[in-house]
Symmetry: none
Subunit: 409 residues, 2 copies
């Protein structure tokens, strides 16, 4: 079964109001095994909205509209569904009485205009709205289902859960969704795709989705079957060969970001961590401490943005910087060692490099060294990173955390 969602309202096209209803509805539908194929946001235009509804009805079994059920001339959802299905609007005395009662309960007089909200598309069942005046509507039309739901999330959500979900469940074949999820560090999207495509392209079920963010890739497998056993069996067929190909580049199987994974490893080892950051200026510390409870393993660190601070705060030899510059393997190692020694932490991570837009040492922009110091000595790695200042910094912190993850593994 497939669905389209249409959010109605010119205000949702601008930057001030973002449609979040469709996210909630998508989540609910996916859990039922219903796939959302398209979402639309349509301004308050009668013909465009009518055409959009018709197009959706031509293609999918379930069409869900949110918004446009208010009392004003701009509220066109009822009219558009009527026009798209060829079913007239019928005035409902029951709905009028319910609206009037609601106004009375607030000691307010019902405005004439609110009578617009008492019209039902012919054949539709009204859906009660305890949180507003706009009743919802559930319409079965030529083998399709059309839902008209109010726009405010606090009205839409309970209506969907209490009235739409039970009706949907009755009509659906029993279907179960099971998922598997990997987060991967240390490779680009196209390299990863090339590596695992030979496995996943053999299967339409589970569906494989690859999501790429700077320096972080997520691989989702989603199996849809009539029983949980079948779905798990499919995932057990496709998941392990993908895991084998990705190997230790997989750092999370439950969605945790790298800073959480590294934190858990430090806690398990009863180890502590310090940082020394140059070009990232605090981003590494910020990410590590974004995790609640990070005070259990993160002790602190040093922002050493200039050579003189590297000498002063970390005790790095001026001769070392003169010989190798601050953007060097030697500097990265010395920074990690200095931070470890001056804080007494078990491990220390360092980052030094050229984030751009200009280079101060002559090394090309994007050249970054990450270092790690621990009980077994220190180590550093050179990175050549693409993109602008913000991306270079994000890549660098991700690579530094991944370096520590591999050290702790």
């Amino acid at each position: 079964m497939e669905a389209e969602i249409i959010a109605v309202g010119t205000e949702l096209l601008g930057v001030q109001r973002v449609d979040t209803n469709s996210l909630f509805i998508t989540d609910q539908l996916n859990a039922l095994g219903v796939e959302v194929r398209r979402k639309m946001i349509v301004g308050d235009h009668r013909e465009l909205l009518t055409a959009s509804i018709k197009e959706a009805l031509d293609r999918v079994e379930i069409v869900i509209l949110t918004g446009g059920l208010g009392p004003t001339e701009d509220d066109l959802t009822r009219d558009a569904v009527s026009a798209a299905t060829g079913r007239p609007l019928i005035f409902s005395d029951d709905l009028r009485d319910a609206i009037a009662a609601r106004f009375r309960s607030f000691n307010r007089k019902m405005a004439e205009i609110n009578l617009r909200q008492a019209y039902l598309v012919e054949g539709a069942e009204p859906l009660e709205n305890p949180n507003g005046t706009a009743a919802g509507q559930w319409l079965e039309h030529e083998g399709r289902v059309v839902m008209l739901l109010p726009g405010p999330p606090h009205e839409m959500k309970p209506m969907f859960l209490n009235h739409c979900l039970p009706r949907l469940e009755k009509g659906l074949p029993a279907q179960v969704i099971r998922t598997r999820f990997y987060r991967v560090a240390g490779m680009g999207e196209s390299d990863l795709d090339q590596l695992i495509a030979p496995v996943y392209t053999k299967y339409e079920n589970p569906v494989t989705t690859i999501l790429a963010a700077p320096s972080d890739i997520q691989v989702h497998l989603r199996a849809r079957c009539s029983t949980a056993e079948e779905a798990e069996a499919l995932l057990n067929e496709v998941g392990p060969p993908i895991e084998a190909l990705l190997g230790d580049r997989i750092y999370s199987r439950n969605g945790d970001p790298l800073e959480v994974v590294v934190g858990q490893m430090l806690v398990a080892k009863k180890a502590t961590l310090a940082v020394a950051e140059s070009c990232t200026g605090g981003q590494l510390g910020q990410r590590i401490t974004s995790v609640a409870g990070s005070s259990n393993y993160f002790v602190g660190g040093f922002l050493v943005y200039s050579d003189s601070m590297k000498e002063k705060l970390l005790g790095i030899d001026a001769a070392l910087l003169a010989e190798h510059t601050s953007v060097s393997e030697a500097a990265a190692k010395a920074m990690a060692e200095g931070a470890r020694q001056r804080t007494g932490a078990t491990y220390a991570l360092s980052i030094t490099g050229e984030a751009g837009p200009e280079s101060s040492t002559g090394a090309p922009v994007g050249t970054v060294f990450i270092g790690v110091a621990g009980p077994d000595g220190s180590d550093a790695r050179k990175l050549t990173l693409p993109g602008d200042r913000a991306r270079i910094r994000t890549f660098a912190t991700q690579a530094a955390l991944d370096l520590l993850r591999r050290k702790l593994a």
Copy 2:
């Protein structure tokens, strides 16, 4: 002129990734007087995407697609535009060379699969993408314009601004847009709205928009007239009374964020800055150093996440912490003074507090002290901040930067 925007990608239908590109594009188009009538999010289905493009081309002059330009089998935008317009895909040697050069510059080998990105819809002009491998495309087709833009915002935005906007402006009727812009620190959205609504609600032109992010509010005035003089005259009528009401809470009139404004003030005073961060763990340094050229005034700082690090790295008296705890005015002052003294910077900022979810000192979550030390001594302020860990930390860094701004003013 009217437009539709189509965001392409199954991942955008779920709850984990939200399309924000269309908000940016809508804003840009509105400023040109182009109305966006409908937005769609379409999953990676070849036929549905082709049909969606056809439907949009039937109705509006401008169709903008974002996403689906990657190298994988799932990236269908090129194919769908080709199918919807009946124009074949043509392999471009120039695009292939550009992609290969990009890979070479990172010392990476171009994967075979990346050749998919070298196809142009017949008749389309390629749009350069300095931030990724996916070139954009600008296609004029039967009196319509179709733009194919990459999905990642950091690739899409500069491409739209540098290549699409100038082409669009050429084709549009002369209309002049003039804007005024304020960024405001230190007050909430509803307080601000209540303060300035009596002024701006009197005018339909300019349009006033208030955008709120944690601890940062932007007020936009946008006048649309047939001449620049008329537009400026309108802004000169509405702007000054709003400025008078907001006073020195306005920190920027050109869109610069607070870290840029403070950086410019430091440069003007030939002063330098250091930081000492506890609960923000590096976020303040990260923000300051997100500005290109910040090495001209930012020297570095200390992440002192535990009491013992506050003593060890900043020389704070253990007795002071025992008496006042680390979440206190005395601790914030001592941290700023210690950072200033140990780095030799002209000014130092400090942040210490309870970001939650649990309190370690007994102070309620959301209690934060910010401190500043300078040539005239030190100062601290207590904040009581709402929200979760991430919001408390963001509010705290914004308040600390604003404290320095007022000190430097």
